[in-house]
Amino acid sequence: MRKFLVILILAVLGFYLFEAFSGLGLGFPRFEHGVKDYYLDKTVSELHVANTVTSIVVSFRGFDTLGEVTVLFLAVSALGSVLYKRRHDVGSRSILFASSGIVRSGSKLLFPAIILLGVYIFIHGHLTPGGGFQGGAIIATGFLLMLLAYENFRVSHHVLSYVESLAGIIFVVIGLLGFIDGGTFLQNFLPSGILNELFSGGVIGIIYVMVGFKVAAELTGLIYSVLHEKD
């Protein structure tokens, strides 16, 4: 009976999957007269953004980016709630060895450089490849280096959660301001500036900086809660 049910469900699923994929026309250019030319044209002429990928991710598909950031937030908070234990649970072995002096002083020298690289990447998100997600992940690796080198290195969960929620709130507020100004969510309401300059592209730069802060805080909190389950 059960096997029959499984086969039935698989058959129904397979039928609908086949129906869905048979209409796709794989291997043919589907966007020949679609949105591709519109994006490539408007990116430079209206938004004054040098990086087309950034303009699509943040401006044309900005609402999807908000959803992505929310999904990441949900994943991290779910992991934190799974790993949460009470503070006075004692008796666990520490998972970290004491690292040597060379590693300690070396990572102290490298940590600011890594943070600077991450900040550079998300500030220049609309000019060069990269952006909020990439820069945030690089900053998180910098914190990971410090957490592995110094077993007493502590990151305040309060600061992380404040930074993260503040960045998310600013993202949504910018979107709503665009709603008031232009009639659509995340509409650009700042002057566009000159192409290829740091202060160009209107709200895109601000949104990417906020995404960078949010992703960095989330990933750092994730690593921290995996490494130090106790607090």
């Binding site: 649970d89 990447i121 990269g130 990439q134 992940a137 990933l219 490494l227």
Partner: protein, 94 residues
């Protein structure tokens, strides 16, 4: 032509690393193999002119995912066979 050969070589390396990660019973080696997959994928993305995705893959795929898996292995058990024996498996917090 040289790009085609390079891409072909990298793809073979990726498939080999993926098969190794599935077959290998020692989970530490399997995690390192998944890291290798991400590393090769980074190079491939860069060759295919997607530096944005390459940066993401380098930071998240190579560094963060591998480290999180390594910490998990450190907290639980290293070999796949040990999980079948339930009595051996003890929570590290005990």
């Amino acid at each position: 032509m040289i790009y085609l050969i390079l891409i072909f070589f990298l793809l073979i390396l990726m498939v080999g690393a993926a098969i190794y990660a599935v077959v290998q019973k020692d989970l530490l080696y399997a995690v390192i193999a998944t890291g290798v997959i991400s590393l090769v994928l980074t190079v491939l993305f860069y060759i295919l002119q997607a530096p944005d995705v390459a940066l993401t893959e380098a930071a998240i795929g190579v560094a963060l995912t591998t480290i999180i898996f390594l910490i998990t292995i450190r907290n639980t058990l290293r070999h796949e066979d040990e999980y079948s024996n339930k009595d051996k498996f003890k929570s590290p917090t005990k």
